[in-house]
């Protein structure tokens, strides 16, 4: 198979980027999309050119590293998969394929197709956890969790943090990501004690990072490789509303209350 690739090249965060066109031939239909890029890079290296920087690691759709917008869709034309799980047999021989990075203010470009997604980590650090010390946990079966409940929590927890939801959103909003994280813990009894603080802290962190707001267009769900439902966004909104109404502010130092656990 043969393709014409239009790839976004950008040397650094503050440099101007632009498209460069690369013809590739000898592409086997058994190749994955990233293997096709590997082959291009091998050629570029031998020719003394700078290979195309792109992120990848597990190459089996779970680590969330790969992050390409292919022909205008994050993770490309297949649904429910990451870029690394996309195979060339999916494309028409001779096609021109446009490859861009995730684009969002909160995801500055590092090089070419590699972006900085630490904003998602900072949202998690703001509250995406259950404050429980190692050791001393009660027997796991002490806590009964209905199958339905556990499965729904698992649906939310399956988020791989790739950021495709942000890339697809017209407003570059991280709502689906935050919704998945908040819902996962809010649905489980272990997560209940901190739910008010958690949702407020995470939503505020998201706003601080410069992500846009949710426009309820559901592009995020349509590109999510784990097909996480936008119903979790509704759940996040509900959690937020609940927290806004119940956050009493009686304890103004609630954010530093962990101090006593030293």
């Amino acid at each position: 198979m043969k393709f014409t690739l239009r790839i976004w090249r950008q040397r650094g965060p503050n440099e101007r980027g632009g498209f460069v066109t690369y013809p590739v031939d000898d592409v086997s239909s058994d190749m994955s999309f990233l293997e096709m890029l590997d082959a291009l890079n091998q050629r570029l290296i031998v020719a003394g050119e700078d290979p195309v920087a792109f992120e990848h690691d597990c190459r089996e759709g779970i680590c969330g590293s790969c992050s390409l917008v292919i022909d205008g869709v994050p993770h490309g034309p297949d649904r429910g998969v990451t870029t690394c799980q996309l195979y060339m047999r999916r494309f028409v021989d001779g096609a021109t394929i446009t490859i861009e990075p995730w684009r969002a203010k909160a995801f500055p470009i590092i090089k070419d197709l590699v972006v900085d997604r630490r904003a998602l980590d900072r949202i998690m650090q703001a509250g995406g956890y259950i404050s429980v010390n190692t050791g001393g946990a009660v027997d796991a079966n002490t806590l009964l969790i209905g199958k339905e409940e556990a499965e729904t929590a698992m649906d939310a927890a399956s988020c791989i943090g790739c950021g495709a939801c942000v890339a697809a959103c017209k407003n570059a909003s991280a709502m689906l990501f935050v919704a998945a994280k908040v819902s996962h813990l809010a649905l489980l009894p272990q997560g209940k004690p901190e739910r008010t603080r958690r949702v407020m802290a995470m939503v505020r962190a998201m706003e601080r990072e410069g992500f846009g707001s949710c426009g309820n267009q559901y592009e995020c769900e349509a590109v999510c490789p784990k097909q996480i439902s936008v119903r979790f966004i509704a759940l996040l909104n509900r959690e937020y509303l609940r927290a806004s109404l119940t956050e009493t502010r009686l304890s103004t130092r609630s954010d530093s209350s962990h101090g006593e656990s030293y």
Binding site: D30, E35, V114
Partner: protein, 642 residues
């Protein structure tokens, strides 16, 4: 370098097996809370072991600096583990116990692991599940709300806890969330996109590391009171493996060069059920969960010349080779046994698919008996993945599978306290050699990573820190400068090597082929000697011909990769030395010279019941040290699954 003499003292506490860990915890000195705040610990790697260790150390009050080469600590390769995590909870009341998990693990490891370590692992396994549930890991549940279990990987009890096919991801997200909490509290400083390139050793103690900032290319030295390596395994030395593309040996290998002994480097696990490779473009092998063998049957045509499509071959002309050879366990034999059987079949020329590399994994019987919906419910996502990759529908035609390098039991030698032969350098998770002997059972790696990180290291490192006098050292200490210089020289050499324009990947592929052929699923002295000749010359070619574009002072993925390949090219030799010296077959290490007439491995407990720990000597062959394995509590038996 090698300034201290290596002594292998396993530091196993005396007394009955069940009491050893309790005794160690009691006898260990404690660090006072006030002092903890002044103690800095470096943790390298954020997989299950690294993230759980860093978060727990932070919670205890130490100042932790944590490094990973990913953009986020959540992406480490633990995330890809599918199957589950073992624990001796005996929730199913099917006869499980700590003793049984201990025995299964030590037998599964073919009696090449340390009893005390394995017993401790089995003891701690139950606490891990409690801890993970408390952190919000959404394990599968029964309708009544209790935890669900499945049986997994060649054992006869149901002790595996799981989260669909994403157990590794959920456990890692649990550890990562704990880490996030400690980052938020200011106890852990997280440094993503940094790669560790050397260890700083001062007066024989590990006191820091040299890292490269992968975005700017800047090198820097970081000092601390102790260093923890949780940098994973080295299956990628084979080029094609089920590991993530970033997995590498660099951290542990550089530590080896600074004096940490490397134990059993040739013990590498080849997983039987991966999708067969199809061409040179292949960048990785995709694992199909071991659970598929619960229902799928492995077979090949009886006749090598049979080229009919699988569905046209009548049952009488099929060879269900695992069921034939191992009637008691059938398709559920442990990984090493299954992999070897598949390889033997393919070597006979009876393999199927491109290049004869593959055997059928057939679900037609279970589909007929239980219906397609049952199969779809159990394995739907795996079948989908298989179709996406191969373009074949496994509900209609049998899957083709072939073994793939998956896990490395070998790693840096550690004592019972998880400390390497460099005092102050602790090694946890897949990076150490400890608990799996010569073969790891399914669903045990997650257990070990979390046991090390949450429950063992935080205790044992405290004892070290409480008993050692380590004066503060400045970041520009002589030893730091020396380490920085070593790294700098090497990087410069890589960037400047611009010879006959061969890429690092092409060398890596060539190295992988040598190892796969001679130090893979089966080994022989002649082949290993051939490999030991081929590897140095390939390495020489590499340094002469490799081309690394760009500079070291910028984001440069090819430079990162070339550096890792350079280390693999040295490390591979160590693997072959180890495989050559071990003149027996045990676990995943199968020496063709040492087998029974039926082709089963022949272990030699008289001569080889020891851990082979190798010491680095500059410009010389590595020196072997032996830690004898004394089996006080179990009697090594022939590991038969027939």
């Amino acid at each position: 370098m090698g300034s201290h003499v290596i002594t292998l003292d396993p530091q196993v506490p005396p007394g009955p097996l069940e009491m050893k860990w309790d005794r160690r915890r009691f006898s260990g000195h404690l660090v006072s809370p006030a002092n903890k705040r002044r103690i800095k610990i470096i943790v390298v790697g954020t997989g299950l072991a690294g993230a759980s260790a860093a978060s727990t150390l932070g919670q205890l009050g130490y100042q932790v600096e944590c490094f990973c080469f990913h953009d986020s600590p959540r992406r480490a390769h633990s995330i890809a583990a599918q199957g589950g995590i073992n624990a001796a909870k005996n929730y199913q009341d099917d006869g499980d116990s700590v003793a049984r998990l201990f025995y299964d693990t030590i037998k599964g490891g073919d009696f090449r692991s340390r009893e005390a370590n394995v017993y401790r692992l089995a003891q701690i396994s139950t606490q891990i599940i409690d801890q993970c549930v408390a952190l919000g890991v959404p394990f599968a549940r029964e309708y009544g709300g209790q935890l669900a279990n499945r049986s997994f990987g060649g054992v006869q009890v149901s002790r595996t806890f799981y989260c669909r096919g994403q157990t590794g991801q959920q456990l890692l997200l649990g550890a990562y969330s704990a880490l996030c909490w400690q980052i938020e509290r200011g106890q852990v400083t997280m440094r993503p996109r940094t790669e560790m390139l050397d260890v700083i050793v001062v007066d024989g103690h590990a006191r820091g590391i040299v890292v490269r900032d992968l975005v700017t290319g800047r090198l820097s030295a970081h000092t601390a009171h102790a260093v923890v390596l949780a940098t994973g395994g080295y299956s990628n030395v084979y080029y094609l493996s089920t590991n993530a593309s970033g997995c590498n040996v660099t951290a542990t290998y550089r530590a080896w060069k600074q004096g940490a002994a490397f134990a059993n480097p040739s013990f590498t696990q080849i997983h039987p059920t991966a999708i067969p490779p199809v061409g040179v473009h292949q960048a990785k092998l995709t694992l199909m969960s071991e659970s598929l063998r619960n229902d799928g049957r492995l077979w090949v045509p009886v006749s090598p010349s049979d080229r009919r499509p699988p569905n046209e071959i009548p049952p009488s002309e099929r060879d269900y080779f695992l069921e034939r050879r191992y009637p008691r366990f059938g398709n559920l034999v442990p990984r090493d046994v299954a992999s070897r059987a598949v390889k033997a079949i393919c070597d006979e020329g009876r393999g199927v698919g491109p290049g004869g590399q593959g055997v059928y994994l057939d679900f037609s019987d279970v589909i007929r008996q239980q219906g397609i919906d049952v199969v779809r419910e159990r394995y739907g996502n795996l079948f989908e993945m298989y179709e996406r990759i191969t373009g074949e529908n496994a509900y209609e035609v049998p899957m083709r599978i072939y073994p793939a390098p998956h896990y490395t039991m070998g790693g840096l030698w550690v004592d019972y306290n998880l400390m390497s032969t460099i005092p102050g350098l602790f090694v946890i998770g897949e990076a150490n050699f400890a608990d799996h002997g010569a073969n790891r059972l399914g669903a045990s790696s997650l257990m070990q990573g979390l046991a090390d990180g949450y429950f063992i290291l935080p205790y044992t490192i405290g004892h070290y820190l409480a008993t050692v006098h380590s004066p503060p050292i400045p970041e520009d200490h002589r030893a730091s400068r020396a380490a920085l210089e070593r790294v700098e020289v090497r990087l410069k050499k890589l960037v400047q090597a611009k010879g006959r324009q061969r890429t690092a990947a092409s060398f890596h592929r060539a190295l992988g082929k040598i190892l796969w052929d001679y130090c893979g699923m089966s080994r022989c002295a002649a082949g290993l000697r051939r490999a030991l000749e081929a590897i140095p010359s390939l390495r020489e070619e590499f340094w002469r011909d490799v081309v690394v574009p760009g500079s070291g002072e910028a984001f440069n993925q090819e430079l990162e990769y070339a550096g890792r390949v350079a280390d693999f090219l040295e490390f591979a030799e160590l693997m072959c030395h180890d495989a050559l010296h071990r003149e027996e077959s045990c676990g995943a290490h199968f020496r063709e010279e040492y087998q029974t007439e039926e082709g089963e491995p022949r272990r030699d407990d008289e001569q080889f019941a020891y851990v082979a720990a190798w010491e680095y000597r500059e410009g010389e062959t590595p020196v072997l040290h032996k830690e004898p394995l004394n089996f006080e509590f179990v009697q090594p038996t022939a590991r038969s699954y027939q």
